[in-house]
């Protein structure tokens, strides 16, 4: 599904190249559940953003579903991630002015889906996540765990093949974190959704099928559990 070959990423800082990622080579198959670990500043988020096509590598090749991503035009690329990828963030990143329902609905709107279709999908997800009763609340009326649940629900609404989660439990207590991890495991097992998450916790990392350790922008270890 994903193949990264010789990926480099650098920033020019005062004439110097400041390398963030160095020669990353990585293959990810459909249905995997991968945890990326590593110290702060090691380039985990950068790598995830490149995979999610929010950022571009400075050098290297990225093949997603047999397409060479960096060769694609901006439009085609955003079409690609619209269709295949859902994002989950540490800070949830819900739109404060929209209700739970409307937040989940937003990606569907940009897919030009009919209103009745949207309704059905959102209702289904609300039901599945057990947040039907909260659908008319605004994000600031929810607890962190609930917000992250909505964040995941929104990512799932567009039926992605791949979910990218950058420290999804970073702002949650351990009980809430566990629930989210269980949810990921379930999505991965039952729906066959590929999941790549960044995490600091060994315990959470263990939910995955493979752990990749980054150190100073390089892949240090790559362990299949």
């Amino acid at each position: 599904m994903i193949a990264l070959k010789n990926i480099f990423k650098w920033y020019n800082v005062g004439g110097n190249r400041n390398f963030i990622l160095k020669d990353i080579n990585l293959d990810i198959q459909q249905g995997e559940f991968i945890s990326i670990m590593g110290p702060s500043g090691s380039g985990k988020s950068t790598l995830l953003n490149i995979i999610g096509m929010l950022d571009e590598a400075s050098e290297g090749t990225y093949i997603f579903q047999d397409q060479e991503v960096f060769r694609l035009k901006e439009k085609q690329r955003s079409q690609l991630y619209k269709d295949y990828i859902g994002f989950v963030f540490q800070a949830y990143h819900l739109i404060d002015e929209l209700t739970v329902y409307e937040n989940i609905e937003t990606p569907l709107i940009y897919k030009d889906m009919k209103s009745s279709e949207r309704k059905a999908i959102v209702a289904d997800i609300l039901d599945r996540f057990g947040i039907v009763g909260k659908k008319d609340l605004f994000p600031n009326q929810l607890s962190g765990g609930q917000q992250q649940l909505v964040g995941i629900a929104r990512a799932l609404a567009s039926k992605p093949k791949l979910i990218l989660a950058d420290e999804p439990t970073g702002n949650l207590n351990s009980k809430q974190g566990e629930e989210i991890m269980e949810l990921f495991k379930q999505l991965n097992k039952e729906d066959g959704i590929t999941i790549i998450q960044v995490t600091h916790s060994e315990k959470n990392a263990a939910y995955g099928s493979r752990i990749i350790n980054l150190l100073d922008g390089r892949i240090d270890t790559n362990t299949t559990l």
Binding site: L54, H93, I95
Partner: protein, 790 residues
């Protein structure tokens, strides 16, 4: 999708209530000003419009030898050219020199704004009849057609057609009702009478049928495709043929579409507009709209930082740049639309005030189609101004930058926004400076020593229809009777009121030592012996006229006459011939202001011939105004029961000279207020956002020991700089504009640098007050609290 956008837009408005309110309110105020101004400008530019406007012309009489240009022509001209020239489809004449006297329930009054017109007047100018028609009007001389509101005045709600009105002691039948004149018509008349009624008076008829007398305004409608110059030549041929005895005074034509902006007519009966004024006022309207839109643009870009997260999330969940662009365009359209609706409400509310200011009579319901049109244009232009830049900026965010916490303050385009604030304050400062200069000039006019005393003097005129003997007798008896009243301090008679003297004569005077090539135009004032005392004129030398007849041929000159006519010294006792009357110069009066201050005081001859006089001026003793007016009324009724009395106070007449200037001064003040209010609203919310962005910084500075003063000045410094730049740019522009304006006055104040300095100080103070509201609040806030919310 729309619903989603609408909801975010709406909830955003609610979330930032104060700034949203300021935003929409400022925009509405700007739009209201613009809509009203454009309504007026549109009205000015479409004066007298009708489908065949291009075919209709008004004849102009020219007397090149003495530079006279009149809009009136001989009575018989219209008929002559209509019968002689097939190119002329129709003619219509107008006479407003004769004021009919209307009696209503025993009260007499002049039918002001009543016009004598031809049969074809109504078809020439497409009058729509609400009731009746022209048929009977044309058939019977003693007919009258009323406008709707004039009809209501006489007959309330009863059907007026067929009723009669007592006019000039004859009964006139009401033949029809037409709508009130629309604000874009030159013909603001309330009633129409047939010219044939006027001509039933044998004296008028004899006078007007003379080809040398031009008392009628003639309109012609040319057949389609007829060349105007050729038609003019042909009309002049007809004049040569018909007006045998006359000097063949040539006429020219002006199109009905150009008549409103005509400038060359002396003493026009129509209200004319001025193209430059329309241009300047429209420009101001545009600028007010612009500064209101600037607020919107600045606020939305300032808010961009707060919206960045939403934009980024939308992008990541699949929104394309064009989706976001549409969203923000839609949002600014929504805001503009809300503002437009509020604008219509404000327009409705302020229209009466606006009418008072402009002297127009716009009716909301009647003007609604045009209002909607103008509002539509205003809405679209504000929408365009409002949408493009913020939408581009907002849709251009890169989501990872936002999530990575790259501060949006770097994204916000500071220079652009500062430039816009500078534009706002340039406009504001110019308008404030203009207000100050105009105010100073108006104050100068009010306070200038006129050389006479204008308060507590009431004046009225004997009708010019009575014959000379009766008039001279009335001058004597009425003066005696008035003087007998205790409320009357003194009474004088003259040929014109002295506030604005138009009467002048060229080459009518001769004196010892006159340069024979000199034929100066000299103002002429005929007065009685009490004029100097009543008006409180000061003498430079010599004396005023005596009570007996010994001064019958003598004159008094003003100082300017003494100088410009180069009278030999000693002036007193020199021979002076005026209109063939030989006498002596008996006195020199100090110059007094007998014209508006737009015009120069020229040489003046004051003489003593009673035949000329018909004006009374009554100085009221103490504050017995009411008693004095009653006395005037009694005396008048006793002597002239058949004529309505019309009086006015001298200081009113004086103010009327400056009606236009007063209007300009009021409008400028209002424009300046709007500009500065909108601009400070903008500054207010920009500071609010600044504070919001910098809460953390302010908190840290306070913890590190920064004093409140320091924080306030940190927040103010930027804006103070901007306003300062605006003052520097605005001052020379304002100086240039106001210098042009003040050239309209011969007697004027010097324009001083401190007027612009004061304008600058006012703008600066208003800005500082605005800023300190927010800044002090932010500086006083508990830093621990603000840091916790970060």
């Amino acid at each position: 999708m729309l619903k989603n956008y609408f909801q975010t837009a709406w909830r955003n408005i609610i979330k930032h209530k104060a700034t949203s309110f300021i935003n929409i309110f400022g925009l509405s105020v700007g739009m209201t000003a613009a809509v009203l101004i454009f309504l007026w400008a549109q009205n000015e530019r479409n004066f007298d419009s009708q489908p065949d406007q291009k075919q209709i012309y008004r004849l102009t009489t020219r007397v090149p030898s003495i530079g006279w240009v009149w809009e009136s022509t001989p009575l018989l001209l219209a008929e002559a050219i209509r019968t002689e020239l097939p190119d002329v489809q129709k003619t219509a004449r107008l006479n407003t020199n004769n004021l009919p006297v209307v009696s209503l329930k025993g009260n007499l009054f002049y039918g002001k704004d009543y016009a004598y017109v031809d049969d074809d007047w109504f078809s020439m100018f497409n009058y729509r009849f609400i009731a009746g028609s022209t048929t009977a009007f044309n058939a019977n001389p003693f007919s009258i057609i009323l406008t709707k509101s004039e009809a209501r005045r006489f007959f309330a709600d009863a059907n007026p057609v067929g009723q009669s009105l007592h006019i000039d002691s004859v009964d006139y039948q009401v033949r029809g009702i037409v709508p009130d004149a629309s604000p874009n018509s030159s013909f603001q008349y309330k009633a129409f009478l047939p010219i044939s009624a006027l001509l039933t008076n044998p004296k008028i008829r004899a006078n007007d049928e003379n080809w040398d007398n031009a008392n009628y305004i003639t309109f012609v409608k040319l057949a389609p495709g007829v060349n105007m110059e050729r038609a003019t030549r042909k009309i002049n041929d007809v004049i040569k043929l018909k007006g045998k005895a006359s000097d063949n005074v040539p006429v020219s034509m002006i199109s009905l579409s150009d008549m409103h902006f005509e400038t060359e007519i002396q003493n026009s009966v129509f209200n004319h507009g001025n193209k430059n004024t329309v241009l300047i006022i429209s420009l101001i309207g545009g600028l007010l709209l612009l500064i209101a839109c600037i607020n919107y643009v600045n606020l939305s870009t300032a808010k961009a930082g707060l919206r960045a997260k939403e934009v980024s999330i939308r992008k990541i969940t699949g929104a394309s740049r064009s989706d976001l662009f549409t969203q923000f365009i839609g949002e600014s359209f929504l805001t503009s639309l809300v503002a437009a609706v509020i604008t219509l409400i404000l327009v409705r509310f302020f229209l009466p005030l606006f009418n008072e200011l402009t002297g127009k009579d716009f009716d909301f319901r009647y003007s609604l189609p045009i209002l909607l049109q103008v509002s539509g244009v205003t809405l679209i232009s504000s929408f365009i101004l409002n949408s493009i830049y913020p939408a581009l900026l907002l849709s251009s965010f890169s989501p990872i930058n936002v999530f990575r916490g790259v501060t949006i303050l770097k994204v916000k385009d500071n220079t652009f926004r500062k430039g816009l604030v500078i534009i706002q304050f340039i406009v504001s400062v110019i308008l404030i400076a203009a207000t100050l200069v105009i105010y100073k000039q108006m104050q100068f006019i009010q306070q200038k020593d006129l050389g006479y005393s204008k308060s507590q003097v009431v004046s009225f005129a004997l009708p010019f229809t009575i014959n000379r003997d009766r008039k001279n007798a009335l001058l004597k008896t009425m003066k005696q009777e008035l003087l007998a009243q205790s409320a009357v301090q003194s009474v004088t008679t003259s040929n014109q009121p002295l506030v604005n003297m138009g009467s002048a004569c060229s080459g009518c005077a001769d004196w010892a030592g006159r340069d024979t090539s000199l034929r100066p135009t000299i103002a002429q004032l005929s007065v009685d012996e009490d004029f100097q005392k009543t008006m409180d004129l000061k003498m430079q030398s010599g004396r005023w006229f005596n009570r007996n007849t010994s001064d019958k041929h003598n004159v008094v000159l003003n100082e300017t006459a003494l100088k410009t006519l180069s009278i030999r010294e000693p002036a007193i006792g020199q021979q002076f011939v005026f209109k063939g009357d030989t006498g002596q110069i008996i006195g020199i009066a100090k110059d007094f202001t007998f014209k508006s201050m737009h015009d120069k005081i020229g040489p003046l001859v004051i003489f003593n011939n009673a035949d000329w006089r018909s004006y009374f001026a009554v100085r009221i003793s103490g504050n017995h105004t009411r008693e004095a007016l009653a006395a005037v009324e009694t005396v008048w009724k006793k002597n002239l029961p058949e004529v309505p009395l019309e009086y006015s106070f001298l200081d009113e007449q004086f103010s009327e000279l400056y009606t236009e200037d007063t209007r300009t001064s009021h409008l400028t003040l209002i424009f300046a207020c709007i500009a500065i209010v909108i601009s400070s609203l903008g500054v207010f919310s920009l500071v609010a956002f600044e504070v919001e962005h910098r809460t953390k910084e302010i908190g840290i500075r306070k913890i590190l020991g920064a004093p409140i003063k320091g924080i306030v000045s940190m927040l103010s410094a930027d804006f103070v700089k901007l306003v300062f730049i605006s003052i520097l740019v605005a001052s020379p522009i304002a100086w240039w504009v106001m210098n042009k304006w003040i050239q309209n006055f011969v007697y004027r104040i010097p324009i001083n640098w401190w007027m612009f300095a004061i304008a600058g100080v006012i703008a600066m103070l208003i800005t500082l007050i605005t800023i300190s509201f927010q800044a002090i609040k932010a500086a006083m806030a508990n830093p621990v609290k603000s840091l916790r919310t970060e």
